[in-house]
Subunit: 336 residues, 2 copies
Amino acid sequence: MADKKVGKQTLQFACAPAITSWASIVGPMEGQGPLKEYFDMVLEDNLAPGEQSWEKTEQKLMQHSMELALEKVKILPGDLDFYFAGDLLNQIITANFTARFLSIPFIGLYGACSTLAEGLCMGSIFLDGGFAEKVGVSASSHHDTAERQLRFPTEQGSQRPLTAQWTVTGAGSYVLQKTGTGIVITHATIGKIQDLGESNANNMGTAMAPAACDTIITHLQDLGRKIHDYDLIITGDLGEVGLAVLKELLGSKGYATDRVSDCGVLIYEPQQDVHSGGSGCGCSAVVLNYLLDEMLYKKKYYRIFFVGTGALLSPTSSFQGESIPGIAHGVVLEYR
Amino acid sequence: MADKKVGKQTLQFACAPAITSWASIVGPMEGQGPLKEYFDMVLEDNLAPGEQSWEKTEQKLMQHSMELALEKVKILPGDLDFYFAGDLLNQIITANFTARFLSIPFIGLYGACSTLAEGLCMGSIFLDGGFAEKVGVSASSHHDTAERQLRFPTEQGSQRPLTAQWTVTGAGSYVLQKTGTGIVITHATIGKIQDLGESNANNMGTAMAPAACDTIITHLQDLGRKIHDYDLIITGDLGEVGLAVLKELLGSKGYATDRVSDCGVLIYEPQQDVHSGGSGCGCSAVVLNYLLDEMLYKKKYYRIFFVGTGALLSPTSSFQGESIPGIAHGVVLEYR
């Protein structure tokens, strides 16, 4: 028997790895949203100073967010044992070029918008398993790199349906250490793909909601817990439309939904005209900065279940008539 | 101190997870190569029976290779704790749709041609760390899906320079269990990105050779071993050109090179006109099937260092003038 596995999909971390530092950098739109005070830096433009392309801007965002997170705890990149990162771009070039710069042994991940949660799971496993003392985790997205790669040329100004989410420009980075106090990761639940047949790439929240629901219920069953054992269950990123679907799914199975929220819903103001809310690996990666600040400095939450959700499609799979597989990975964060 | 880490980048597995099963399916060209007898199935055409696209063919290859590997040890997909997979396609759709079909908790990886090695590292860490009892690992590529995505439309019939490698059509899958005899994984070395400035996407072997060299030397230093402590050190996939560069790099630092070989060199006959040899995540994923057969059934090797090598570029990064970051992850395979 795997002694650190509980139930079907949940892992229990005896050492409870600590998240000892975090940092975030966002684009101008996110810098006008309700969480602006929680981000370390806000770009004035969609291009970073001195950069000629959105892709190189995104890479700098990820790199600087990790550098900032390391600075806060006075750790050099070379002191990290391993680095886990991923992004939305083809062949995860943002993560690759960041890992080249940082020069840390690197594990490339792809989980679409669940990437940050996937990285936190992997990092915790390395730490709790005795394979590392300190690891770094990053995820990012950029509105313009994602839109032109995955949907339409940015200059085309295509109309977006109301179910569509707005890809966040932002990067979030985290330092995890084997021992520490403050915020710790006690459990991870690794998700299974769920696909109920949604095939509209402009309605990814609906495509991902069943995966979020499955991971949340499996997690609660694995640990014998209830929704109200958490101060907050937060998905990233279903948006308004997907969150409503998730609440309906949970409610129909008899689960409370009053403490369920979503990073994509929190990041923008309604008047910012983003339709269903934020998305992209960068969304939950920067909103988790806000949540951790609320836990650590304001004692607002003592235990959160943070559930990253990914829509695992590509333009090619959509063109070939496939529906959209969703996945959700979760970690339990506790303030101690 | 991380008690399972030795030296800078190497992990030591006290439980020595066993590779209890493996399977491979290849395309017609690979089925005419020197290793044809070692593959479980050979496609007659670049399309699988009943499939309308190369992408859906690649997905079926990965899926069937995992199903075959599971059948050999009479394990159902649902008996696996976790599934690690990745491929070359944008947003790793091959792995995503395979994970949807298998319905196993899934970790998506991207490491280009190092993906299989990356998956074997992750799987071993889950098993040795006490997080799982049984895991599955797959990687795949398809010549026609990769070429049209990463280089030129297949129908264009572009000429290829002699330094270019031929993307393998094939998928390989592996079942790893916490305890077992036969072939076991004793160590993993996680690579750092190396980039000496090579920017020719038709010379990826040269771009990846420095990463292979760095991982091999770091591994030997971490464990205080010599090249001749291994019966074979095999990279995947540098091709003829990259292997020559690797041998030159190793030789210049005083290391023996007589037991160093490459999966991309082994998979085709010289008369198959593939120029520098094979590449793609599927190349090392199917050639490792051959190596394990040689270890287990013919006792040809007792200890191998299998080093997956990845070129972490994308068409976008090349268009924007970037050089090609290389990475290499290695696992030590022992016959016991």
